[in-house]
Symmetry: C2
Subunit: 480 residues, 2 copies
Amino acid sequence: MMKTLKEKELEPFFNPKSVCVAGASKSGWKLGNVVISNMLRFGYGGKIFPLHPDGGELMGFRAYPSSLEIDENVDLAIAVIPRDTVPSFVKECGEAGIRNIVVCAAGFSDCGAVGAKLESEILRSARKYGIRILGPNSVGTINTHGKFATSLLTLDVLEKGNVSIAAQTGLFQAGYERMFASLENPGISKVISLGNKADIDEIDALKYFENDSTTHVIGIYTEGVKDGRHFINVAKRISRRKPLVVLKGGRSSAGASSAFGHTGSLSGPQEIFSGALKQVSIIPANSINELIWGIKALSLCPPARGQGVGVVSITGAGCVLSADCLTEAGLCIPELSLKTLERIERITPSYFKVSNPADIWAAVETGGIGEAFRIFLDAFASQDNIDILIAITTLVPESTFEAEEVFGELKSSCQNKPLIATVLGAKPEEYWQWSKPLERIGIPVYDSIEGAVYAAKSLSLAGNPIREKRESPAYVKTEG
Amino acid sequence: MMKTLKEKELEPFFNPKSVCVAGASKSGWKLGNVVISNMLRFGYGGKIFPLHPDGGELMGFRAYPSSLEIDENVDLAIAVIPRDTVPSFVKECGEAGIRNIVVCAAGFSDCGAVGAKLESEILRSARKYGIRILGPNSVGTINTHGKFATSLLTLDVLEKGNVSIAAQTGLFQAGYERMFASLENPGISKVISLGNKADIDEIDALKYFENDSTTHVIGIYTEGVKDGRHFINVAKRISRRKPLVVLKGGRSSAGASSAFGHTGSLSGPQEIFSGALKQVSIIPANSINELIWGIKALSLCPPARGQGVGVVSITGAGCVLSADCLTEAGLCIPELSLKTLERIERITPSYFKVSNPADIWAAVETGGIGEAFRIFLDAFASQDNIDILIAITTLVPESTFEAEEVFGELKSSCQNKPLIATVLGAKPEEYWQWSKPLERIGIPVYDSIEGAVYAAKSLSLAGNPIREKRESPAYVKTEG
């Protein structure tokens, strides 16, 4: 089955000028009402046509008994209706000239033979009318730049960001969306929930994100791609310009079987998938946390020039555990050069041996925490084979320093070496107070060593295509 | 070097009747003042004798120029003084009849030959006078039941709990302590910071915790034990009664080298250590997060009877990813019995196939989220080979249900099967509002699948000694 997707084919799913919504109630509060309320909360400026058998008014809008009765163009229909009514709804949309539909109901190819048959039926109608289907089993899209959101779950308004996510789950249009809104990061451009991927899939989403000017970083959660070779080719092309973090669910046979029940996905052997990922510059994630850690770092920092990491820590355990974790992640921990050591010497007692990772306690006694971080990080950043900096602290009154000033100065003076901050232990509210201002100036903050090291790994992997380009004249020639 | 530690030898470090503190200021605010302020904040009821060259008054207490001038018994001295003044301070304490000292300064065996020599010097004096040394490079102890805390870092008051931690880091008496205080869990009984372990080490701490009635669960962070065989033997004995989670820093060669600089520890080959852990029922942690996840679950739940895990999730991705993660953790995901399926049947549409992990969306449409969780979890709990339950949700208004009631009822009706709750995505403040009441009734809550699965693994491993005991008459005989 060949699909030819024009560059902006998904545009109506993210930037519709007008939408109709099936499944809202006039008296109660159904999921269709949630969809409309999300659009209103996000400040959607297009036209909204609720569908309701009785017509009349719904949430302040004129309601139509059928899409056929709407006498204006409808870019996108959102079907928040029971499974068995979807096939006739798709036909009706086809007759009404609507060419894009989000199908929210589940119970299709994720649910046995009857469901699979219904999904085929929908797809047949869609092909006949030239309709693109998102789902079934999708909660739709978010577009912060277009002030649009269709989720079935109540969202908080997100600030505009540069990360776009395509996922075979609605979680990024549910609790995680609310988390991102509250924490401000990762900053989101677009989210698309792919559901069963009867029609629109990761490849379509990737191609759309490729040409979307507000998407700089891409996150994918997939339970198995249908055309692996095509996916890898597209991902390879895109990852040269936009870093791509991919979480694959269904790695185990139990997970794969569960994926079949969730979205009807055939996961395929994990080895083949992860092997293929390694060949291209895709950044593999093993958990939702890793996916989020990665896209946050990539959205705030430039890709790293290499894989050398310098760690400056207020706690010795932070040094030991980060060395373990960096080693396990395959990153490098360069030894300090004489020049670097000389720069640090003046604030460390003579008996104290500095290495990488560096415990700064002795320097803290001499010059204070802020000064110790400043001098160590400056010295580390000036060493050529250190490409990424990790600063580790814990939040107690005694560890307070002007982090925004100290880290901010380093960030400005050394723009091509990402700085990652890590907090080992804090009261939650103090953590957010500390981390938010830093993230606003482009320093990602993590509450674990694993988070910081995964961030470093992501930034290092994201730098691969740049390094390849720099190092290979042949590659440049091909591009020219 | 043989050490014979009497059962309650560490008692003065946790429950001193009187303490003297060296290193507090009368006019300014030094770390010695922090130590005294922590004691006061915790409600310490014993006597406090600050030391100060000028005598007079300090923070409302009479200050003494020297410990020799205190004419009352002093159970514990806390030395918050520069490295080079420690040896003479230890001698002075010896002459004054003080037999227990916390040495806070670093720069000893963690810091080259001169430091190592100083440490030997201290140790020699200590042996001469029969003094026990905690440190050097220690921030001291916490004892919530005894209302005592010596940390150099400002602590928040902790409620009384049942977990005790021995660590070669002060982090659990710094930011993590404040985190535990804010989140209420894991509930802490005692913490001891071991530092360089010149004298008191993990084995001493373990023996003390073994006989401490308020310690039910033990967490260890070590950068390498000096007498591995002794440690394993003691750990083996204790882990039969009190679950023991161990995080070993310095697993990699870079980490081991960093550990030597942090606490002067020789890590030893990781394979030998982790191999030995497997033989006894120690629960290995690979990160601070795993250590915290584990001790929280163990402090709230009974050990599990086996390794069968049932997962009930509001999100399909939660099913897929938990199946992957459980498989990778070596836990079992039992298939559902016909009896279990029959119990679930009545709230699931006929076309919907239920398996383990179970996605409850279809049942939610029929009976509401609370009812779906209730029926699924009840049915799963009644299946014999399911030993642990994991419930997964996301926090949006549409996913709200009476979690405390539904989960609480299950917990009461099925006390030998731990229930673990997991939230995939939430606004942080909503997460704490949701999780705290559940943890108060003994249901540990995690914000990641990795956290929940590690908790399940910990509970399953903690059940091993019980199962062995049940299954092996020989073992029982030996004990009798």
